[in-house]
């Protein structure tokens, strides 16, 4: 386990040291950081949380000790251009064009759609975007049974896009619970640049 003593150092020095030390660690390896500066502790925690690390924190007197494990995913990403390139082979967009899945019995269609959206967040590979249009926008409203699932997906970094014209058409402006209101220009662009499109 690597130990970093940052006692007596002010922000951003402890973070500089932590970022450097993390680069030298193997994935899964542990690191212990000591600091006596509360602002630095807060900033270190904010940084680690952003990297998907949930450190343990303890304190004795004025000294805080932070215990973290280097995550499996790559922390470096020093080139933003590389970072932003999407991997076409695994990237996908979910396009939902109605509040029901398939034709036939409307009640069945509603249940199927609910199950589908609830299952989306359980996928190992999450969609980059979920595009909702026509009566599909109703799924993102406060009263929708899948509203919480869509919110969870959004928390995980999936962009939920709602067709603005559709929201206006159904008069739902004041019921939106989740998602970014968008227009057909952006929706078309998103669908056109998607690696794969999943349309239930």
């Amino acid at each position: 386990m690597k130990i970093l003593d940052t006692k007596g150092l002010l922000c951003p020095q402890p973070l500089i040291m932590l970022k450097e030390a993390m680069l030298g660690l193997n994935k899964g390896e542990k690191i212990k950081v000591e600091t006596d500066n509360e602002t630095s502790l807060k900033n270190l925690l904010s940084y680690l949380k952003d990297q998907g690390v949930e450190p343990e924190v303890s304190n004795s007197g004025a000294v805080f000790t932070l215990l973290a494990i280097k995550p499996e995913k790559d922390l470096t990403a020093s080139d933003p251009a590389i970072y932003c390139t999407t991997d076409i082979s695994t990237d996908y967009v979910v396009s939902i064009k109605g509040e029901r899945m398939g034709d036939g019995d409307p009640e069945l269609g509603r249940v199927l759609m609910e199950t589908f959206v609830n299952n989306l967040k359980l996928q190992e590979q999450l969609p980059s975007h979920v595009v909702l249009y026509n009566s599909g926008v109703k799924l993102a409203m406060k009263q929708s049974p899948v509203c919480s699932s869509l919110t969870e997906l959004e928390e995980l970094g999936t962009r939920i896009m709602l067709c603005g014209t559709c929201i206006d058409h159904y008069g739902l402006q004041y019921d939106i619970a989740v998602g970014m209101i968008s227009n057909m220009v952006v929706i078309t662009e998103t669908l056109a640049s998607a690696g794969n499109i999943l349309s239930p």
């Binding site: 973070l15 500089i16 980059s128 970014m180």
Partner: protein, 348 residues
């Protein structure tokens, strides 16, 4: 004295931006009574850059102030930057600065008096460049030093630009690159090259005068300038005041050379974290938004650029003209205005 006095040595090592956290400030301001008068065209309500008072049908008065501790070593440059930063609020409202007062906190026991006069000279020259007049000021004994201006300017009431007029489908244009906070932090921690740091200083001295004139020419109705709350903080206030949401494309953000590398090395000022805490849940990041870009969105800017919401039909002409009048800056489209959605900012 054999060595030139270093103003940066007066402030705490690694010192972060001097601005109070935005959340804390709102908390305090919300408890104060709000001045209300039909002649007040802009009050504190929308967290705009300045107060605006309508004198008659032709003229409204813009009134603003700003000051802060040193962000560079040289007194003259500090004066120039602080003045450009104070004047910027008038430009952000679409106005012309007329007069300014010096606000100075300075301790002659701790700093040679010639530094005092250098700071004032820098401020004087920048105000002259803006076509305005310094008509006095006030100094008190304090350490570390602080300097800035109180500025009055005017604008035609019909041409007033606020932070509350952005409309869905308009395009967001930023006139200066981000990262002044990063490069000042990098300088203090020995992590930025002197070329990159000099470039940041140069940009901070650059008046928003030409940028504002172009905005007025193209009928921009909504604009604000970038300062201590960072792009995300100021964009958030603008979206909130306009009752819309913004979509910002992080790979398009203009960055000062070297700023990204400073953040990559971990030299992220405390102000950035405070700004990020303030924007919090009101911002959504799509998966894959680069961590350093996310933090640079919250980098506290000194004398930053103008963020304007532009009619899509005018964007190419406006950008072209901005690049012509300010070729040393880098006006860039960074996103667009979308209808009011559950969150204020959507970053991708």
């Amino acid at each position: 004295m054999d060595k030139k006095f270093d103003l940066l040595s007066t402030i705490e090592y690694g010192g972060c931006s001097a601005k109070l956290p935005a959340g804390l400030l709102s908390q305090v301001l919300s408890k104060l009574p709000v001045a209300s008068d039909p002649r007040l065209l802009v009050d504190v309500d929308t967290h705009d850059d300045a107060g605006v008072y309508k004198i008659n049908e032709e003229t409204a008065l813009i009134f603003t102030t700003d000051f802060f501790p040193p962000i560079c070593s040289d007194g003259y440059e500090f004066g120039e930057i602080a003045a450009a930063n104070s004047l910027s609020d008038v430009y952000a409202m679409g106005g012309k600065p007329l007069m300014a007062l010096n606000l100075m906190m300075f301790s002659q026991e701790k700093i040679p008096l010639e530094v005092f006069s250098e700071i004032l000279k820098g401020g004087f020259d920048k105000v002259s460049e803006a076509g305005a007049l310094i008509v006095g000021g006030h100094t008190i004994n304090d350490h570390p030093p602080k300097y800035g201006l109180a500025v009055v300017g005017t604008v035609h009431p019909d041409q007033l630009i606020t932070n509350a007029g952005a409309l869905p489908n308009e395009i967001l244009v930023l006139t200066k690159a981000l990262g002044t906070g990063a490069l000042v932090s990098g300088e203090k921690n020995g992590l930025s090259s002197s070329d990159d740091y000099r470039r940041a200083l140069k940009q901070m001295k650059h008046l928003n005068k030409n940028g504002a004139a172009v905005a007025v020419k193209y009928g921009v109705r909504c604009m604000t300038d970038m300062t201590g709350f960072g792009l995300a903080g100021h964009a958030l206030k603008m979206a909130e005041a306009s009752k819309v949401s913004f979509r910002i494309r992080s790979p398009h953000l203009p960055l000062l050379p070297g700023a990204y590398q400073v953040y990559e090395k971990g030299s992220i000022p405390g102000a950035t974290f405070r700004n990020q805490e303030f924007t919090g849940e009101q911002v959504h990041y799509t998966r894959g938004v680069d961590y350093n870009l996310k933090m640079l969105l919250h980098d506290a800017q000194t004398s930053g650029g103008l963020l304007m919401s532009v009619n899509p039909d005018h964007v190419s002409a406006l950008i072209e003209e901005l690049n012509r009048v300010d070729p040393e800056l880098s006006a860039t489209v960074i996103g667009e205005v979308i209808p009011e959605s559950p969150r204020r900012l959507y970053i991708e």
